[in-house]
Symmetry: C2
Subunit: 155 residues, 2 copies
DNA sequence: GTTGATTACTTGCAATCGAAACTAATGTAG
DNA sequence: CTACATTAGTTTCGATTGCAAGTAATCAAC
């Protein structure tokens, strides 16, 4: 532990900016989806991951990893999506501990309806403001920081 | 609106990594502070901002901006810090709508005790993993994305 | 094949949050 | 001076969260 105990001025300035971004950006995306589609960002991501899956279904634990949430949180998110008719849950016949979440037709329709607005919000908040070089830098930095925690991303 | 409707493959991959980071990093910092100091990240930031202020006090609305929270959320955060003895609230004599939050001695001691662990967590999660060039890139990107929403940062 | 550990998921509880409603003080227009 | 709008902050409500405890199925060891 020979690390300096505090951040140096450049690190400090960098951190304050990163921290601001880290708190404000999710809130921006959250409020757009909430206002326009009555969806949580987490709920959106669940639907997005399921809709992009070849089988349209996924086990809960994997879904939790893909959507960067805890298992308990995911459980409640999927419960809500199920109540709203966007997802169904079924036991896996091979391993009856496993629950497979499957997106419904209504869920596919919902994500199709919600995507343009959400993508526009992401564009407006991020990609419209960066040039290609910065996008590459940001992607590389994010992957480095995630390290081994980068969830496996379905094709 | 001639924007493409979806993200291109490079943007998409970049976004998935950024989004993962954006959800996981706050959770990491939150759990460290919670576990070791029984503090919220938001509560930590409030104490940090107050302790760095020359007068050791700050009006609620400015504090909300500095800590990237809504006014209503800040109100509850400060109420909790006050209950724990780290902050006091007083009416501003000049404008009696204004509330000045002031950090107490116990609050100063608390932030001093909490800072090393929190800084270590920030280092471990971010600065230890990036080289100087990447730190500069990340800072520049963050400031660009924040745009005019970069809160005024006290010296 | 029974016991104990592990894995997968859910749920109870207390705490927290965002949105909107609310109180109270100040500013402004006539 | 008297409305009316605006600003500052708090609070209420329903919903969400994390943690820890719970249920249930599978696995591993003997």
């Amino acid at each position: 532990m020979t690390e300096p105990q505090w951040l140096n001025p450049e690190e400090r300035r960098a951190w304050l900016a990163v921290a601001s971004l880290m708190f404000r950006l999710p809130a921006t995306l959250e409020s757009q989806l909430q206002r326009d589609e009555d969806l949580t960002v987490a709920g959106y991501m669940v639907l997005a991951m399921l809709s992009e899956s070849a089988t349209r279904e996924c086990r809960m634990s994997k879904l939790a990893e893909l959507t960067n949430t805890s298992q308990s949180r995911l459980s409640r998110i999927v419960a809500r999506l199920e109540k709203d008719g966007y997802v169904t849950r079924a036991m896996d016949a091979n391993d009856r501990r496993v629950v497979l979440a499957r997106i419904t037709e209504a869920g596919v329709a919902k994500i199709a309806a919600a995507a343009p607005g959400h993508v526009a919000a992401v564009r407006a908040a991020v990609f419209d403001r960066l040039d290609e070089e910065q996008v590459r830098q940001l992607a590389a930095i994010s992957r480095t920081l995630l390290g081994d925690e980068l969830p496996y991303l379905p094709e």
